[in-house]
């Protein structure tokens, strides 16, 4: 397998991907190189690849970029691939939620949340407040976890609510085998089975 570096938008994306790789592919997160970008376009600066991208490429690492599709999947995909084509650096790209539709990681997490009864409450709440704010993805996931962790001591709960400490491997909270993750699994499977240049 060619060594790789995963570039993702933020800490929550990084933790989710690490937990997914560990659960589905048995990869130790400590052996996977992650680089948070801060935003979907954090791989470039002044139109050029960032030092982290150049270094990974020069080091023979495969670059895996995982970001949100946001409002328009096709436009986001086109811009990223066009940038890397211009950089002359190969990239493997996946856009949440499923590399087909607009959306983000929170949409995917909403789909794989185990406690549908709780999620239903938030949907009702969001309908009620829609006139004030349309997208409540981050707040929805935070509130979902806050409810599930309500029996934990305060300090522990506050820690586990932070993006970098969330535990997506808890089966009672998240279903990492959900069909909504099929395209993500296929994407990662294809990369993890690729031989390195010398093999």
């Amino acid at each position: 397998m060619q060594p790789f570096t995963i570039f993702a938008e933020g800490k929550s994306d990084t933790k989710f991907i690490a937990d997914y790789l560990k659960t589905i592919f048995g990869l130790d997160p400590g052996n996977v190189a992650f680089v948070p970008l801060g935003s979907w376009s954090g791989y470039k600066t002044e139109g050029k690849p960032t030092a982290a991208i150049r270094q990974a490429h020069d080091s023979g690492k495969r670059i895996i970029l995982i970001a949100d599709a946001d409002n328009n999947f096709e436009d986001r995909q086109k811009e990223v691939l066009s940038d890397f084509d211009r950089f002359k650096i190969p990239v493997a790209l996946f856009l949440f939620p499923n590399h087909q539709q607009p959306g983000n990681l929170e949409d995917l997490l909403t789909d794989i949340a185990v406690r549908r009864d709780l999620m239903a409450c938030f949907f009702e709440y969001e309908k009620c407040v829609a006139q004030y704010r349309k997208k409540l993805g981050h707040a929805r996931i935070y509130a979902y976890l806050d409810m599930l962790l309500s029996d934990r001591p305060k300090q522990e709960r506050e820690k586990l609510l932070k993006a970098e400490h969330r535990d997506y491997t808890i089966e009672q909270h998240w279903n990492l085998h959900h069909h909504a993750l099929q395209s993500f699994k296929t994407f990662l499977s294809s990369l993890l089975s690729l031989p390195s240049a010398g093999e």
């Binding site: 970008l37 801060g38 954090g42 002044e46 960032t50 020069d58």
Partner: protein
């Protein structure tokens, strides 16, 4: 950027650098990277000078600082040559790029381990660098630079890691600062970043068998020796001496482990003062660090002083093609810091 500040730099055959090119250099540069990737070596390479004798003197001085040899019977240049291709002639070269000017080249060639010569056209004293073979041992001619530093009595703008109080500080302070009212005032002002109550610095010959530097602080009756103020104060004292001294041959200043000895709560103030001094004295700054707090303080200080456009982080990394340098501008490393991305 001043005209004599580097915009790019290339070095080859030097220590572990087979070939290293750094581009888009700023006036204030923080060098980061893994252990043993060559951060300190890069600082040493940046001591190159179009007068090879000055360069040799600087390298000689650096070896004394870091105590790599107990005495300088070892060939100075030999230590700094890379180990690549030792059986055939090896060339150590430096290429400096300045804004709007052609590159300046400086090189030394090592012939089969027997002889050094300088490629520099302006240097005519090449016999200084010749060595003979004596029973398989390499020796320098008597004229080789083997003195204990300051052979040419130039200011060596290199602040090493973990260098403590020595009488050389007193000597330099007495010679360059003590007798100049304007310099002394600026010097004292800058040192207050680590000694806030500092009122005056005195050279006292009666305190011990050799003159020592004494610090007078507001509200304190007794003067305290500078050596008692810790590594951070000594470090900034050395930096200030380097910036304020006469006999300035270099327009750049190299500092190894910038944050060592400085408490994190004072780092931003320390770096801000350093940036101001470098700016006021047209110095180009190169410093190394392993610390994330230092990188954050560097970013804060650049912003505080409005110097973002001239700030760079240069990351050295080992790749299959050798050591490579990656230059980041302010926007990029600020973004990386905000994203909690590892940039050390």
């Amino acid at each position: 950027m001043e005209r004599n500040h580097l915009t790019a730099f290339e070095v080859g055959g030097f220590k572990k650098f087979a070939r290293l090119k750094i581009e888009d250099i700023g006036q204030y540069n923080l060098i980061v990277g893994d252990n043993n990737v060559g951060k300190t070596s890069l600082l040493e390479a940046l001591m190159c000078h179009e007068n090879p004798h000055y360069f040799l003197d600087a390298l000689d001085d650096i070896m004394l600082y870091v105590k790599r040899f107990n005495n300088l019977r070892e060939p100075v240049l030999s230590y700094f040559f890379s180990t690549f291709g030792t059986t055939s002639p090896v060339r150590m070269y430096f290429r400096e790029f300045f804004s709007g000017e052609p590159a300046k080249d400086l090189g030394f060639t090592k012939y089969s381990g027997y002889r050094f010569s300088t490629d520099n056209r302006s240097a005519d004293n090449s016999s200084l660098h010749e060595i003979d073979s004596d029973n398989g041992q390499i020796k320098f001619h008597k004229k080789e630079v083997t003195g204990a530093g300051y052979f040419f009595n130039i200011n060596i703008p290199y602040i090493p890691f973990g260098n403590y109080y020595t009488h050389e500080l007193t000597e330099k302070y007495s010679e360059y600062i003590q007798v100049r009212v304007d310099k002394k005032s600026a010097f004292v002002h800058a040192l207050r970043v680590l000694i806030p109550g500092l009122e005056n610095i005195e050279v006292n010959a009666g305190f011990s068998s050799t003159p020592v530097l004494l610090i007078a602080e507001e509200g304190k009756n007794n003067l305290q020796p500078l050596g008692m103020y810790g590594d951070g104060a000594l470090k900034i004292f050395r930096i200030l001496l380097s910036i304020f001294s006469d006999k300035q041959i270099y327009s750049r200043l190299m500092i190894d482990e910038l944050d060592a000895g400085v408490h994190h709560s004072r780092l931003t103030g320390f770096i801000s003062a350093l940036l101001t001094m470098s700016k006021d004295n047209q110095k180009q700054l190169f410093a190394t660090t392993h610390s994330k707090e230092c990188i954050q303080s560097f970013a804060h200080a650049l912003k505080e002083k409005g110097l973002e456009a001239e700030g760079r982080i240069i990351r050295l990394a080992d790749t299959p093609d050798g050591i490579m340098a990656y230059t980041m501008r302010y926007t990029e490393f600020e973004n990386a810091l905000n994203a909690d991305s590892e940039i050390r």
